[in-house]
């Protein structure tokens, strides 16, 4: 009997593309070799998926097979003396933190949501607000298990010389099915964060704040009002933080209420987005200063609203996240914000962050030294895509690149320009594995 059931409810976080997948939902690691064999049978392409927080199509495999790893989510070993933790690939960061925070450990790197799996974090080599200090998640991976379609179950460590470890870090799940992950942990003295919020009036102020703060704070990030124009262009709120030196080791709050429905299309329009941005900036200015908050409030503000992506309605949303090198950063970020402001395509969440120079082992890893800008847009079809083409030109001119985990539309040319080593990576791709993203950028398949 087939373990793969046709399903039309596999969506990425952006919810733009609706497609059919044959889905398997295993619960045990011992099932994986047979599932990979079956999933890849008859020339069908296969992809492992987790909690589906990737925005675009890197986690989708339309008309192919996917193995949903969320049910393979057990802790395997924890060695506090060596600061090592090993768990099955489907375990979420939420579950990891529940286990480890009370024991005085923290994830060395975490993205802006705790509802990602360990396997997904490896596949996308995720980064956090401490990139300037710790680099990407992949730097902290000490081992992983990979199931390949030729039946091999491989254990990979950072000293692997075949290149398969480096290809799997940030490898978008294309090098095989990640079965388990072992990471090095960070010791934690308190579950509280000391946070300081500083309003800034423009990009020059942002860069000055970033330079000053990156030296003294573990975590830095900024929100930008991307609808402000002219004088106010690039105004925003800078946030910098560190773990408190002492305090309780209590686990963060549970998930709040979820959006039960898709918002109607008119809910997010240029007027409401502009109003939100103004209000958020105004409130932030008034509340600026120092506070101490639980870690989840600092790291995961949006996790408090389950399914916030449904706010963008049935047509879904795009996120556009780029990184541009330091020399070109000022001009490129300014040009992108000006292009967004001029387009009237509002973005609720515009996030700016400087990346440090700690290199990732990953061949296809997104972060590189420079400045990253992430923008969320409701999908309005052609006008939204037209803005992205203008932004692409700015990023490319600056020698930057886009984040595959967020992308659902770049051209093969744009991808290859940003990731010149993609050909080396491609040699490690498991022949049975693929995704819509990969077919677009590597095989030139039209979206």
């Amino acid at each position: 009997m087939t373990r793969f059931v046709p399903s039309d409810d596999i969506l990425s976080w952006g919810r733009v593309l609706r497609a059919r997948h044959d889905v398997a939902r295993p619960r045990w690691r011992d099932e994986l070799p047979a599932l990979v064999r079956e999933g890849a049978g008859g020339g069908r392409k296969l992809l492992g998926i987790g909690l589906r927080r990737s925005y675009g199509d890197s986690g989708l495999n339309p008309d192919g097979a996917v193995i949903d790893m969320a049910g393979i989510d057990r802790a395997i070993t924890f060695d506090p003396a060596a600061r090592r933790f090993r768990a099955e690939a489907g375990m979420s960061f939420d579950a990891v933190l529940r286990l480890l925070v009370p024991r005085g450990f923290f994830l060395p790197v975490t993205p802006g949501t705790r509802f990602v799996t360990l396997g997904g974090a490896v596949a996308n080599d995720v980064h956090g607000k401490n990139h300037h200090r710790t680099g990407t998640f992949g730097r902290w991976v000490r081992g992983l298990g990979l199931v390949r379609s030729d039946g091999r179950e491989i254990e990979l460590t950072p000293d692997d010389e075949t290149g398969l470890f480096a290809a799997t870090i940030g490898g978008l799940g294309l090098t095989g099915l990640i079965a388990w992950v072992e990471i090095e942990l960070m010791p934690l003295a308190s579950a509280m964060m000391e946070v300081e919020t500083i309003p800034f009036g423009g990009l020059d102020e942002f860069f000055a704040l970033a330079e000053e703060s990156d030296a003294a704070f573990d975590y830095t990030v900024a929100w930008v009002d991307c609808l402000a124009a002219g004088e106010a262009l690039g105004r925003g709120l800078f946030s910098r933080a560190r773990h408190a030196a002492s305090g309780p080791l209590a686990v963060g709050a549970r998930r709040g209420p979820a959006l039960p429905i898709d918002f109607p299309a008119f809910a997010l329009n240029p007027m409401t987005v502009r109003a939100f941005n103004r209000l958020y900036y105004g409130l932030g200015r008034r509340k600026a200063g120092r506070t101490t908050v639980p870690y989840d409030r600092f790291f995961y503000p949006l996790d408090g609203i389950g399914g916030w992506n449904r706010m963008y309605g049935r047509r879904g949303l795009y996120q556009y996240q780029s990184v541009v090198p330091p020399a070109a950063a000022r001009d490129a970020i300014k040009a992108m914000l000006a292009a967004v402001s001029a387009s009237g395509e509002g973005s609720f969440l515009a996030v700016l962050k400087t990346f440090g120079d700690r290199p990732s082992p990953g061949m296809l890893s997104f972060p590189r030294p420079g400045t990253t800008l992430a923008l969320d847009f409701p999908n309005r079809g052609a006008s939204t895509l037209a803005l992205f083409v203008r932004l692409d030109a700015i990023v490319r001119e600056a020698g930057g690149r886009l984040y595959p985990a967020k992308d659902g539309r770049i051209t093969a040319e744009m991808f290859r320009a940003g990731y010149p080593d993609w050909g080396d990576f491609a040699r490690h791709v498991d022949p049975a594995f693929s995704s819509r993203f990969w077919r677009r950028v590597a095989e030139g398949e039209a979206g």
Partner: protein, 245 residues
């Protein structure tokens, strides 16, 4: 808290065991598959269980329930017993092949009844503790899609209600938890398992954990199935038999 989980590799049982582990319980897990039991045991220890024992055995085998007293001895006592194993069986095949029908009845009812009676005896003797058994809404009214499985679950419900009656107000409790359809390996072949009527193992496990602590002897998971099944039970056969449920 000392907890015995019979059928510990079931998705609902494992999720319920995680709740117990988070409370710092001591658990004995019984199931057939050693490797999987070990994986669960390692996970539960890291999730806070003070002690996890495993027992590799075929719970549905004849005479298996004789091991119940030994389980209790290994754990040094028992507070909660959760019986969570079962098979859906193939309804259509069972109609043609009586051996297969009998297997469905033997695993889901006959073998489970022996464990349940053994546990009831133990709880009665010690004067405290909770026995929670996973039944199904399928046991509330026979439907052509799954009445062999449903008959076994109906049998379990009657058995557990009887034990709850036997316990009366003497201390121990017996509860049958009746989930609606749940997204677990048991229902893997079903297309598009979503919508309001499909529950996750987490939802049902939370009901199981609560039912072990308090409430009446018959609990639906989620709660609304009580009212849906009430309506379905009240439908006259002339109407019910025309419905494609």
């Amino acid at each position: 808290m000392k907890v015995i989980v019979l059928g510990a590799t079931s998705a609902i049982a494992e999720t319920a065991a995680r709740l117990y582990a988070g409370e710092g319980s001591e658990l004995l897990l019984a199931a057939r598959h050693r490797e999987r039991l070990d994986a669960i045991a390692a996970d539960l220890r890291l999730r806070g269980a003070v002690r996890v024992e495993t027992a590799v055995c075929d719970l549905s085998a004849a005479g298996a329930a004789a091991a119940f007293a030994a389980f209790v001895a290994r754990l040094g006592g028992v507070d909660h017993v959760l019986l969570a194993y079962g098979i859906l069986g193939d309804q259509q095949a069972g109609e043609q092949d009586l051996e297969r029908a009998e297997t469905t009845l033997q695993v889901n009812f006959t073998s489970a009844a022996r464990w349940i009676l053994a546990a009831a005896e133990m709880l009665q003797r010690q004067g405290h503790g909770s026995l929670v058994v996973l039944g199904s809404v399928a046991g509330d009214r026979g439907r052509r899609a799954n009445y062999i499985y449903g008959a076994a679950k109906a049998g379990l419900a009657t058995l557990v209600e009887g034990i709850a009656h036997r316990f009366g107000n003497s201390g121990p409790r017996a509860v049958i938890v009746k989930p609606g359809p749940v997204i677990t390996p048991m229902t893997e072949g079903f297309a598009n398992r979503r919508g309001l009527l499909w529950a996750t193992p987490g939802t049902v496990a939370a009901v199981v954990r609560r039912a072990a602590a308090r409430g009446g002897p018959v609990v639906y998971a989620p709660w609304f199935w009580r009212w849906i099944m009430l309506v379905i039970r009240l439908l006259p056969a002339s109407v019910f038999n025309r419905l494609d449920l």
